[in-house]
Symmetry: C2
Subunit: 356 residues, 2 copies
């Protein structure tokens, strides 16, 4: 089985290196191959998603992705900026289902800005549609405003859209995921304003007929943003579109106060996937050896479970991570008095040791 | 001066009644006239925004709005549902600038789900553009998907758009508001993905040249959602589009834990405005006399300040509200042990008395 390793920019290479160490220690015969992506792709090959990198990702059984982005690429035109790599990979690989767990580890309850009673034991799964919506809809651009009080001026515009089949397949993913959890799905939309999301609501309601053992609730996105702050533990699975999912999944991750712990999976229709930490490239701390590698290591665990059919190895890694937390080891982002502060490599080594 | 009073549905009439009491006690010669809106408009006249109500709102110098929406109207087609009234009023009256303060009163710090040190002293002003964006953009609807892998299927679609002049005027509102505060503006966009918001960023940057005494920062909407949870006190003024503003202003309001305290103003180009509490119609507690009228009373204060040129009367009301909080009076939504629980009317009476 072939795994593409795309470290990227900022802390990407350091954290990915720890996950690679862990993968290599499992005693499996994975073939790991690395390639440049993001700013590193642009620097080496003039494009954030170089041809060779895309070809490798397509040929591989799964992709482990670090993070992309760095201030030094801010001045580039949009098509060449690092984040285009991740948008390109999602679209080219058909990675329509983004699974982002927001879990609060009991040992890290203090890291949240929310009161412990509001977030302790938090365990939400956000499922974000990832290849549709206003992210890729056409037409888009800057044009002359055709009518109304601003006619004749320049205007920026984009197209939000969801086809029936796109909504159906992500709804199935959500209902099936809920069956392995608490059997409750909250579909987040803005059906009171948007045609796209009235249509979304109608289709999700229809798919739900096949899952009568799962409870379905519809919620407006503004209310969902409030409920995430007010009573996040009331959610089980949240399913939503690309744009709303971008906002809500980051808000939910931040509720835990330890975004450095949260992995993510982006899956295609055949369970091939791209796995990456929920946090970004943090260029300000890159190269200092202080970044938290656990989200990337846990992303590797998700990869073993969802794309490589190695659920036991995934369990091994997840248990090893719990063990190092129980041992009191903490990178600076999750450090609290009374625990032991360690760097990126030490944390990776500790997980390795805890694998047994 | 003529004020249109639109109580609406749910708790709308009860809370509006308290604000009217306060307005009448100021000793000014305001002419107050009421009309049905939302579900009440539909029930009485077959439309959520009846002709007469719209005419009254247009003729008035300012509008005091309660809240709209009730479960009993859920089955109506979208065009007749209560929330269409508020969308219609915004568009018809040209209310493009929505000002939503998120303030945490020291006495209510405990009501937040966030840790006191994260939110105590919170004072953010969110300025949401209210008549553009994907809320009103055309074309929109359900059509046959024209191309791509879902060609031939039905798809829901909407148009996001902002013309240059729309962005300019809301940017001016934000920079001018910042001058009366801490002189810092965070413009929230998604310039890395959306053409509309790359254009937004360019125009806001251009308008900023006229306000070199104000600091401008650009932030992606997903990051803004995170920073609101992580360190909300770092913000001063946030300016953003209609859709992002809908989500972020509700999240920010919920940070305070006392959304029953938060007023809002929606202004046109000549400082005529519609004023309403930030919370909804809460049909579950309607008619029980327990709703918190303070957000509506504080909305009346904003109305006096922004539309009626009566800043001193606005101060009087705001001071009266602070006084009743200091006296320990609390409606159930903000009640804590050691304070005195009161109902809607008692709270209104207490403010009246505190006016002096
Ligand atoms: C970098 C950006 C294009 C991307 C997105 O908006 O999807 C990021 O925010 C994410 O959530 O992975
Ligand atoms: C009721 C709804 C149409 C409205 C909106 O989305 O603008 C509401 O959420 C608000 O923020 O006033």
């Amino acid at each position: 089985m072939k795994i593409a390793i795309l470290p990227g920019d900022g802390i990407g290479p350091e954290i990915t290196a720890q996950a690679v160490k862990v993968l290599n220690a499992l005693g499996e015969s994975f073939e790991l191959e690395s390639a440049d992506v993001g700013g590193a792709g642009y620097a080496a090959h003039g494009h954030p998603l170089p041809q060779g990198t895309l070809a490798l990702a397509k040929a591989a059984d799964a992709v482990l992705f670090g993070a992309v982005g760095d201030y030094k690429y801010d001045a580039l035109e949009r098509a060449l900026r690092p984040e285009q790599a991740i948008l390109g990979l999602r679209k080219e690989l058909g990675l329509f289902a983004n699974l982002r767990p927001a879990i609060l580890y009991p040992e890290l309850a203090g890291a949240s800005t929310l009161k412990p009673e509001v977030v302790s034991g938090l365990d939400i799964l956000i499922i974000r549609e990832l290849t549709g919506d206003i992210y890729f809809g056409k037409p888009r651009g800057v044009r002359e405003c055709p009518d109304g009080p601003f006619a004749g001026q320049r205007e920026g515009f984009d197209t939000m859209r969801y086809a029936e089949g796109e909504i159906r397949r992500i709804a199935h993913v959500a209902f099936q995921a809920a069956r392995k959890r608490d059997r409750r799905v909250t579909s987040v939309d803005k059906a009171n304003v948007l045609e796209t999301f009235q249509f979304w609501r109608d289709i999700v309601t229809d798919v739900h007929k096949e899952y009568q053992d799962v409870e379905l609730e519809h919620m407006y996105v503004d209310n969902a943003a409030m409920q995430l702050v007010r009573a996040p533990k009331k959610f089980d699975v949240i399913v939503t579109g690309n744009m709303f999912g971008d906002i809500l999944s980051d808000a939910a991750a931040m509720l835990t106060g330890s975004i450095g712990m949260l992995p993510s999976a982006s899956l295609d229709a055949n369970s091939k996937g791209l796995y990456e930490p929920s946090h970004g490239s943090a260029p300000d701390i890159a190269g200092k050896g202080v970044a938290n590698p656990l989200a990337t290591i846990l992303s590797a665990a998700m990869m073993l479970r969802f794309s490589l059919g190695k659920a036991e190895q995934a369990d091994r890694i997840e248990n090893a991570v719990k063990k190092v937390l129980a041992q009191g080891l903490r990178t600076p982002d999750i450090y609290e008095e009374g625990t032991t502060k360690v760097g990126t490599e030490q944390m990776g080594d500790a997980v390795l040791k805890a694998l047994g």
